[in-house]
Symmetry: C2
Subunit: 114 residues, 2 copies
DNA sequence: ACAAGGAGTTACCAAAAGGTGACGAGTCCC
DNA sequence: GGGACTCGTCACCTTTTGGTAACTCCTTGT
């Protein structure tokens, strides 16, 4: 689906701009966790059972490329920790994410009852 | 990406419920056009340059399966017209779609200027 | 010297999404 | 009978996405 690239002048659909940066199996989940507080890589991996290091790294890189999050690397006792958090720009997306989340909560019953 | 199926108990992420039903290269665009007024198939195809009949039909079927829209078939002079419109359920998604659209409008400059 | 631990990267593979082109079904008109 | 019109399906192919397993890099502790 729909990756973030500056093509497609087809139809002016503003919602598409947003969906392109959050499309990806793990991105909304990552953004949801980061709302709570910053997480480092292993912590995200631990809280997202099923994701592999490769894929998580990819998703984080894409979010970082799109300017939504940033990772701050630090060395603690010879071990590298990268702390991921929203950028100021990324935080502007949170209200929209909340709107999606609200809808999801209200309609989760319908969704699961199939 | 992420198609609408009732699997994945991995992490409770309400926003994911919403993103799964709108994920797809043409779905947000279709929903955006339908906000304006109901459209029939050929009209949607005409206003979405680049989409093929097959893919558009697929996307519409998925939106219909997910209960967001419905198509009403009518015969006009030996020619079948299917008029697509939001269901009541689908309309509940519009506020969330608006939130995404608002963000897209505000940040379209950043997006295109790369 | 070497294991340990976090954060990746690389090569390879499988599944899903999207795209193309041809074709069918129904009805009306010439 | 033979188009024309609209909606939609079928077989096939390409691209994108996600997944697995092995491996690197760096430093501290034994």
């Amino acid at each position: 689906m729909t990756s973030p690239r500056p093509d497609e002048k087809l139809l002016h659909c503003p919602a598409l701009v947003a969906t392109r940066v959050i499309a990806g199996k793990w991105k909304t989940r990552v953004l949801w966790l980061l709302r709570e507080r910053p997480h480092h890589f292993g912590e995200l991996k631990g809280r997202l059972p099923g994701v592999s290091a490769k894929v998580l790294a990819e998703q984080l890189q894409q979010l970082e490329r799109d300017g939504l999050i940033q990772g701050q690397a630090e060395l603690r006792g010879g071990v590298s920790f990268v702390l991921y958090d929203y950028t100021r720009y990324g935080r502007t997306l949170i209200p929209a994410l909340d709107a999606l989340g609200t809808w999801g909560l209200e309609h989760a019953a319908w969704e699961t009852g199939r």
